[in-house]
């Protein structure tokens, strides 16, 4: 489903070049629940943003769902994100002026789904995450956990094959974090490929593949079977 080879990402800051990813290669197969773990500053978000087409690698190859997306033009990527990917961010990234309902429906706006159908599907998506009674709330009128559930509903509404989550529980208390995690696990059991960036050993242990990153390099890439050994 996801295959990257020799990914390099360099940032240029005032003439200095900083290499955030060194020759990163790995594969995540379809239906996998994978975690990317590592210390702060190790390059996890940089990697996930490249996987999501939000950022570009300096060099290397990226195959998503059989397509060489690393070479995609911006608008082709926009289309690919809309169809194939769902995003969950640590800081939720909801549009503050829109209601939960409209936030959730956004991916369908860019898929040209008619208004009526959009609203119906967004309502269903919100009730699936337990927020049927919060349709008209703006993000500021929701708790952190509720906002993250709105974001998950938004990530799922377009029925994407891959879900990318950057510290989805990082801003939440332990209990709410666990709730969100079981929601993600449930989605994975239903067949979705999920990649989670996390600090938490706890969360990593709930995944079937764990990719360790250190100073921009993959130092360990283990499947569950090996982990349990």
């Amino acid at each position: 489903m996801i295959r990257v080879t020799s990914l390099i990402k360099e940032y240029t800051l005032g003439g200095d070049t900083f290499r955030a990813l060194h020759d990163v290669s790995f594969e995540v197969s379809e239906g996998m629940l994978a975690a990317i773990v590592g210390q702060s500053g190790s390059g996890k978000s940089t990697l996930l943003n490249i996987l999501g087409g939000l950022d570009r690698a300096t060099s290397g190859q990226y195959w998503l769902n059989g397509k060489n997306v690393g070479e995609f033009a911006p608008d082709t990527w926009a289309h690919e994100r809309n169809r194939t990917l769902g995003f969950v961010f640590q800081s939720f990234q909801l549009i503050p002026t829109l209601t939960a309902w409209d936030n959730v429906a956004l991916p369908l706006v860019y898929r040209r789904v008619p208004l009526k159908e959009r609203r119906e599907r967004a309502r269903r998506a919100l009730s699936e995450v337990g927020l049927a009674n919060r349709l008209g709330h703006k993000p500021a009128q929701l708790s952190g956990g509720q906002q993250q559930r709105v974001a998950i509903a938004r990530a799922l509404i377009g029925d994407p094959r891959v879900l990318l989550a950057d510290e989805p529980t990082g801003n939440l208390d332990t209990q709410t974090g666990e709730d969100i995690m079981s929601l993600l696990q449930e989605l994975n059991r239903a067949g979705r490929t999920i990649v989670i960036v996390t600090h938490s050993q706890d969360i990593a242990q709930q995944c079937r593949q764990v990719i360790h990153i250190q100073d921009g390099r993959v130092v360990r890439d283990a499947l569950l079977e090996e982990v349990s050994k």
Binding site: L54, P74, T97, Y110, R111
Partner: protein
């Protein structure tokens, strides 16, 4: 994203900052409003001149003295003798006067003239007759009323045979003219014609206000105009008389109109430029404020085109709303203008159409840069932006 959704988004974007949008529109509102009022005033003024020419018939040369030039009744025969072909020459002696009946009073432009005025072919009668040769030669106290005067002094009842006080003396109404209608000829409708022989002693002068020479063809008219100009330049010095054929008046009118139009276009351009810069400024602010929103939309699948359209349409909605409010404001002033300005004013539908086109264009032109700026953001940079 569909067009309907883009449009909805643009309106919502404007609505989210109502006051700011309204203030931004102000430049366009004032610009468009000014254009509509100025066009109406300009059209009204040229209509007033055109109406005078039209009501006095064609092929007429107007002769009027500048201050200090003697111009008495004898000028008429002097002019007739100087012109080598037959013409009709009519003198008028004009003054403003209070007029009253037993029950009503008002003001009128009193025109003292001769029976030959009728030959200009500009008037038609609703009742009675025009001044006759007899009435003029005998200096009778008779009057012919313009249509508006008949209405305001006699409430529309047939006044022929009724008494009327003009210049402090009693006159008898002998005729009523048909209305020349709104615009062209309106001045005629407010006039009262009396014999020049009666007017002269009442005004206390034998100085003519104006002489009109009606010729057979436009060629003859310009010949007469040249001839009389030479004649009076030699006799009283240059500038002693204002002499103009209808052609020349029309030419002057055209020139004035052209100047006015250029001035107007300049004013409108500046106003709309200022309005446009205001819109560009506010759109740039809006793009910066909504950087994160742009990033989110890009992450969820918005293409460059979607983002461009969102901000371009928002600029156009602001600009066009300003245009519509400006049209409302301008039209309101035009409708109220008879009360406000007391000048002839004439509404122009073209200026409304033009305002629509221009305010849309302003939004389009000044919205382009902010819209392209928004669409050029990298998703990850936009998402990380904290403002």
């Amino acid at each position: 994203m569909t067009w309907t959704d883009s449009f909805r988004l643009a309106v919502a974007g404007m609505w989210a900052n109502k006051l700011r949008a309204l203030l931004t529109m102000l430049g366009v509102i004032i610009g468009v409003g000014a254009v509509i009022v100025l066009v109406a005033i300009g059209k009204g003024a040229s209509n007033a001149v055109a109406s005078r020419i039209e009501t006095l018939g064609t092929n007429v040369v107007f002769v009027s003295p500048t201050a200090g030039t003697p111009f008495s009744e004898s000028a008429i025969s002097y002019i007739n003798q100087a012109i080598p072909f037959p013409v009709t020459t009519i003198g008028t002696m004009n003054t403003a006067s209070k007029v009253s009946t037993a029950t009503t009073s008002g003001g009128a432009q009193v025109v003292g003239t001769s029976a030959a005025y009728w030959k200009l072919g500009a008037l038609s009668l609703a009742a009675g007759h025009f001044l006759t040769t007899n009435e003029v030669s005998q200096g009778q106290h008779v009057a012919v009323l313009g249509a508006n005067q008949a209405i305001s002094l006699f409430s529309g009842q047939n006044p022929v045979g009724d008494p009327l006080m003009i210049l402090g003396q009693q006159f008898t109404v002998v005729g009523v003219l048909n209305s020349v209608g709104q615009g062209p000829g309106a001045s005629q409708d407010n006039a009262i014609f009396i014999p020049i022989t009666t007017a002269s002693p009442l005004i206390g002068t034998n100085q003519l206000s104006e002489v009109m020479v009606k010729t057979g063809t436009p060629n003859q008219a310009s010949l007469v105009s040249d001839l009389l100009t030479n004649l009076y330049n030699n006799r009283f010095g240059s500038g002693s008389m204002v002499i103009a054929s209808e052609d020349q008046v029309l030419q002057t009118l055209q020139a004035t109109r052209a100047t006015f139009t250029a001035l107007l276009a300049g004013t409108a351009a500046i106003a709309l430029l200022v309005g446009g810069i205001g819109i560009m400024n506010i759109m740039l602010v809006s793009v910066t404020e909504r950087t994160r929103e742009i990033g989110i939309r890009q992450a969820l699948g918005a293409t460059r085109e979607d983002i461009i359209l969102q901000f371009l349409l928002e600029a156009m909605v602001i600009s066009l709303s300003g245009g519509i409010l400006g049209i409302g404001l301008g039209s309101g002033l035009v409708v109220l203008s008879p009360v406000l300005f007391k000048t002839p004013i004439s509404f122009s539908p073209q200026s409304i159409a033009l305002s629509f086109v221009f305010s849309t264009a302003v939004g389009l032109i000044f919205g382009l840069y902010p819209a392209f700026k928004a669409s050029g953001l990298e998703p990850i940079q936009a998402l990380r932006y904290d403002g």
